[in-house]
Structures are given as structure tokens and as C-alpha cells.
Symmetry: C2
Subunit: 233 residues, 2 copies
DNA sequence: GTAAATTTGTGTTTAATAACACTGTTTTGA
DNA sequence: TCAAAACAGTGTTATTAAACACAAATTTAC
């Protein structure tokens, strides 16, 4: 059990964007109801069809949100980094989860019961606006993804995925190595292609000197050209 | 110009879900700022990259929201019927429109400046919850669409489109004819396929006695089988 | 009312990517 | 630490759907 002062520290430092909208009373409510849980690599946080009960807050680590489709195919929908919130959409829509979430690597998450979030939103308009803003940005992202995943060719989709990883998790101090190390299968599931095609296309990008691959470590060598490939489709 | 009493009638009768959350003062603000505009068949309501300024409210007719992609390809993202609201997402996300909207048929729309909506939301939590709910449902829909459009085969995607049209616009009194008459191209753009393939697949469904096609009029004969085709992929 | 434009329909070819099969390599867990 | 499992890599084949080409039918606009 983590002691309360640590809670307050985590909450006030990392959750600033949401925390700052709250009154002292509301802050007390959050502190009282907030719990922390650690997840192992690949551990499932919640699964499709379950009832949404918690607002999840990623404090440390990396998380994927994904959806199972036809046969054994999986589509990764969104990636989360600290400090981002997820798991609330289904609750607000009044339906079970349509996607699942799992930790990419050992991760620390905070959870707050959605009933608490709901009652806070009804008291606090800035908090309501925070969720309206987040949902709106996500919806725009999903709409754009529909077109990118259905209309671009394999090379364009993989370029998109690499650019997303740069944007989302950033690069090491060398300014070129992706901070996330993911399996070829995850990369394929992010780009709507088979694992074989992800591997082949990574090889093609390597031959074209756009990236350097060493196991799961990917160095971005020519981001400008990746952008061109992404744009062309 | 429509006179004010008519405004109030339209607003109070048709916009009930939103209207009922408002205080008398807030209702006055809406009435004062609400304007009505008619659109011809295929007329564009707003276009991608424009700045979002209005909350649109479809009072009469049918509207499509769509996004241009690679080459000349278009993806229809969502369909609207009276009385539904749209056009607010980009404003809340703080970005230009990523999609366009156009009338399928002669339509009547109400518009309310987003600044007014914004200030109402900040005063009224039920209204905030209305938008949170709408955005959440749309986001779930888009996430599901990503998987359906990328993983299902042509027949499954066209079956999905037909089922969506039933759900969204309903059937005539004969309980089988779709109330919306759309071009093969629009049907293709809804299902992520070429017009040729939409035509061919409609012919296939006709041969299998799932539908009867007469020009743009489509009768649904075997909805259960369409659901099977949709599910199988 | 008629010419032009658009839409529908169909056959053929081509390109993209999934599916399959198999080998070598790395990681994991008892 | 060693065996099993998972992952990475590559060649080959099959399948799906796009691209292209063109004719017929319908709608639109003057």
C-alpha cells in the first residue's frame, strides 16, 4: 500500500491537466477514491465486452488499446503514454467496452471509479470540457485513421505507424532511436497488415536507408522521406 | 424569413433532447441565435479544412459526413437524420474540420454559433453531458468501423452498409424498401469499395434473393442472411 | 426537347496483399 | 540450462479487389 502523501504527490504532479480544474473539496474526493495498480508486460487491463467501471490513468509505462476483428486479426486503435487517461468512453456511451487495453511493458496505472468521475463532471464544467476536448480529438483521429488504413498502401500505412510512434513515444537521446520496442506483430496490428508484410516492408525501408533495424530497436534515419511515403499513400 | 414563433416551435419540438436541459434564460439565448438554412440536393454544408463555427442541427432531409482520401477516393463516415446534431467535433477539438458535410436530398438545417454552444455548456452540465454522450457513442462507432472496413471482405462491407441504412433511415410502409435512395457511388463510398464492385455485389445479392433492386430503390428481402454475411466478414 | 453529362452495368487485366509453408533465431519458464 | 514456445525472416502461391475500357441507360441543363 502506498501512503496517502505519495498519492497526493502523484495526483498533483502527474495529473495536472485534470487536477487543476478541481476545487479543494473535489480534490479530496479524488484522493480518497484513487487507487494504484501495477501491470506486467502484456497484462490485460480490461477486455472487450466488459462493463466499464474505471477511469484509468497511465502513470508509468506504455499501453495499447486494441480491438479484435475477423478471424484472429487485431487492430491497435490507440497508444497511451504517461500521463494520459482512458477507459471512460464506453461508460459515457452507456455500453460495454468495444475494445481492450493491455500494457506494452511493466506499467503503473491509477484508477478512479467512473461514478466518481461522473459526479465530478456534473459539479465541474472545466472537467466536463476536458472530456469533451479529449473525446473530440480522439474522434477526429479515428475518422482520419479510417481513411488512412483503408486507402493507403502497405508502405504508406507502415510509414504512418512509424511516424505515430515518434509522435507518441518520442526518440532516445541519439535523436533517432524509437523509445518504444514493439514486436513485428504489434507493428502489423497497428498498420493493418500481416506480420510477414510488416517484416518485408521494414526490410524495404532499411534497404532504402529510411531506418536502421536492430532486433526491436528501430532508428529513424530519414523522417522526411517517411512523410512523403505516408502522404503519397 | 421564418417568424420567431415558428423558431420556438421547431426548437422546442424537434430539438427536445437538448432543449429540455436548458433554463428559460438559456432557451432565450438559443432562440435569439438560432437561424435556419435550406440546402439543395448535393449542396455542401461545410468542407474539410474550414474553421468550425456552427453547431448544425438537421431538421428535415438527409445528410452525409465524408472525408476525401487518396486520389479521388471518398469515405462516407456518418449519416444524419432529423433531428441530429453535427459539426461541433472540430470546434471542441480546436482544429479545422477533417471531414465535409453535404445534403443527400433537399434539407433544412438549423445553425447555432459554436461560441453560444460553448458558453451554454459552461453554464449547463446536462448539456455538457449530452455532448459527452454523443461524442462517446460516435467514437465507439468509428473504432468499430475501422475494424469492419479494414478486415471484412466486400460482401460483408456492403451488407454492413445496407444494415446501416435500415437502422439509420428505416423502411417504407411496405416494411422492406429502404427510405434512402442513394447512388451506387455513394454506396461504394460508404462501404470502402469501387463503384464497379458495389454494382457487382448488389447484383450478387439480388441473385441470392437477399434484396430486390429497381434503380436506386432497394428492397430488403432477407435481412437475417445479410446479418450473417456481415458477421462472417 | 434534345444534346451533354452522369450514372449504371459488364468484361478483362493487373496489382496488391493475404495465405501458406518452412527455417533460423531469440526469449521464456520450469 | 535446457527444452519449448514465441518471434523473425523469406520464398511461393492464391485470392481479392482495383484499374481500365467501353456500352447502355438515365438524368440534367439549356
Amino acid at each position: 500500500m502506498i501512503k496517502k502523501s505519495t498519492f497526493e504527490q502523484i495526483i498533483s504532479q502527474d495529473m495536472a491537466e485534470m487536477w487543476n480544474t478541481l476545487t479543494p473539496d473535489q480534490k479530496r474526493i479524488v484522493t480518497k477514491n484513487f487507487t494504484i495498480q501495477n501491470f506486467k508486460k502484456n497484462q490485460i487491463i480490461y477486455a472487450e465486452k466488459e462493463a466499464p467501471e474505471m477511469l484509468w490513468c497511465l502513470l508509468k509505462g506504455k499501453v495499447k488499446m486494441y480491438k479484435s476483428g475477423i478471424g484472429d486479426r487485431v487492430q491497435i486503435l490507440r497508444l497511451y503514454r504517461p500521463v494520459q487517461y482512458f477507459g471512460y468512453r464506453a461508460y459515457f456511451a452507456g455500453e460495454p467496452y468495444v475494445s481492450s487495453a493491455a500494457a506494452f511493458e511493466p506499467s503503473t496505472l491509477g484508477m478512479l471509479p467512473m461514478e466518481v468521475v461522473d459526479s465530478l463532471i456534473r459539479q465541474n464544467n472545466d472537467l466536463a470540457m476536458f472530456f469533451i476536448h479529449e473525446l473530440s480529438r480522439n474522434l477526429g483521429g479515428s475518422d482520419t485513421k479510417i481513411v488512412n488504413l483503408t486507402q493507403k498502401h502497405i508502405r504508406g500505412r507502415l510509414a504512418d505507424a512509424l511516424l505515430l510512434l515518434i509522435e507518441n513515444y518520442g526518440l532516445e537521446d541519439d535523436d533517432s532511436t524509437l523509445k518504444i520496442y514493439m514486436s513485428r506483430e504489434d507493428l502489423a496490428n497497428l498498420s493493418n497488415m500481416t506480420t510477414s508484410n510488416a517484416i518485408r516492408t521494414l526490410t524495404a525501408f532499411t534497404n532504402e536507408k529510411l531506418i536502421i533495424v536492430d532486433g526491436r530497436k528501430i532508428k529513424i534515419i530519414n523522417e522526411a522521406q517517411l512523410r512523403k511515403i505516408s502522404k503519397f499513400g
